[in-house]
Amino acid sequence: MKWPIITGALVALAASNQLCHAADPRYPDWPCAQAKVPEISLAAVWAGPPIDDVQNKWKDDPKVSALVAKVAARRTPLEEAEKDIKDFLASSAGDKVMAGKLVFAGLFETLNAERSSVMNGLERVMRKQRDAAEKIRSDTINLQNMQSSSSPDQTKIDELSNQLLWETRIFEDRRRVVKYVCEVPTTIDQRLFALGREIQQELE
């Protein structure tokens, strides 16, 4: 019973060490295999008319801000979001270019902010994992010492074994979640690019 726990704990730690090796020295807390790109640069996703003259104006237009909130949300299927944008631009016959610029400026700001918050969350979890790894390491050593003692206290050994089992399980669960969440910044990139492309096509 005890050895599998220790082995499990050590395997988890070995995995956490691998994470450390893969890290970019500029971002020591970044837990993902995907390279950390702190911000999406405008030029990577937009080749349409310059948007520096619209800045925050998208927030002042209730129709635009409602559309941005809807199409930026990942629960809105991409096809539906693209169609919403198309319909909105078709209805804004007066100044289609301005409407397109406003929607894109809103999406760029909203999705970049969402992306940053996901990335900050990932780094926060990574710091927690490091503390957890340290705790598992010291508990493992304590357990080994207790077991090899000349008069082992079985009650305490069982207690610590149990604790170690839980610590390892939580560590492993978090690791799986992190791996999944690491995909989220890319998903946001894809969405911003696809919606930006839709707007540019409508403006051409």
């Binding site: 640069s41 405008l42 030029a43 990577a44 996703v45 080749a47 990139d189 894809q190 696809a194 540019q200």
Partner: protein, 323 residues
């Protein structure tokens, strides 16, 4: 490469007979472990074929009956029967094959094996390995000169384009290029060899006779950091007048005047654009966009993106049916 063996007269006849000629494109999806089949008439994915692990380099056989795709993590090349739309055989490459090229007759295949610094030579009729050629570290880009005498292999770590004599199967010259060379292409008249460098973000123009770099194409896009501009795939029109260069995470294709080597335009395509293929009539150019999981269709004459087609996960390579 099919174009060298097709009679120009036949091409004209085909163009005259059926102006809306449909071609078939095969796209390798590196992460999806599939190949997407695109019909260029409907611009839709008509089939998705399961292949081995990590498919990258992909090319039609000269007769159009088979498509070969390097499946790096399975250390082999899958052969797809284009009538059955399934893998029917494998070819004996070395470990981790990435890109390959075939001679004009379609009889010999040269495969770059990323993991053991060799190029494997395969007899396509017998589907048997003929031998290996030692090259630089992490071989990658492959190209054959129009006269078939010289094979080019670029090595990612050594940063060189190796000139291999196809008769002797020996490296006869090596030319230093910018960091991490990815792809090599000859002009149809054989006068220039173009080699793209992913990290260097440039295309080196090489004189294939003197084995010397004679010029360099650089790219700059306002608002984009230099490291986001990574030159990878290259496509040159048959008349050697216009070239297209894929710029990876810059999400753009550069249009280059192939005579003056000046960039004339940047086209926003999809995310992490990697490789490309022309339709045989050169009316359209299709690019694979790895991160947005799609293929962009460029109208070559208008130099405009006209369509986007969703494919599998992480599209990497693309090849077009010869007819």
């Amino acid at each position: 490469m099919w174009r060298y063996c097709l009679l120009p007269g036949l091409a004209v006849w085909l163009a005259a007979m059926s102006p809306a000629q449909a071609f078939i494109a095969y796209v390798s999806n590196e992460k999806g472990n599939t190949v997407s089949v695109i019909d260029t008439d409907s611009w839709a994915v008509t089939d998705t074929i399961k292949v081995g692990q990590r498919p990258r380099g992909i090319e039609f056989s000269r007769d159009g009956k088979f498509v070969m795709v390097a499946v790096g993590d399975d250390d082999t090349i899958d052969v797809i029967d284009t009538a059955k739309k399934q893998v029917v055989d494998t070819l004996p490459s070395g470990p981790d094959p990435e890109l390959f090229t075939q001679d004009a007759a379609g009889k010999i295949l040269y495969v770059a094996n990323e993991n053991d610094n060799t190029v494997t030579v395969i007899d396509l009729e017998k589907r048997a390995r003929l031998g290996d050629i030692q090259v630089g570290v992490e071989p990658e880009g492959m190209a054959i000169s129009p006269d078939g005498k010289i094979l080019i292999n670029t090595s990612e770590t050594t940063n060189m384009a190796h000139f291999i004599d196809t008769a002797k199967r020996q490296v006869v010259a090596s030319v230093l290029v910018d960091s991490r060379p990815r792809f090599a292409a000859f002009k149809s008249d054989g006068s220039e060899l173009w080699v793209s460098s992913e990290i260097g973000g440039t295309v080196s123009i090489i004189d294939p006779v003197k084995h010397a770099v004679t010029g360099k194409i650089e790219f700059s896009i306002p608002g984009l950091r230099r490291e986001a501009i990574q030159a990878v795939g290259i496509g040159i029109t048959k008349d050697d007048k216009t070239a297209f260069v894929a710029l990876g995470p810059a999400n753009r294709i550069a249009v280059v005047d192939a005579t003056s080597h000046k960039v004339t335009k940047y086209l926003l395509v999809g995310q992490r654009v990697w490789h490309m293929a022309f339709t045989p009539d050169e009316k359209y150019l299709l690019t694979t966009n790895g991160v947005s999981n799609d293929v962009s269709v460029i109208d070559v004459a208008a130099q405009k993106v006209i369509k986007t087609i969703q494919v599998g996960e992480l599209p990497w390579g693309i090849t077009m049916s010869p007819r």
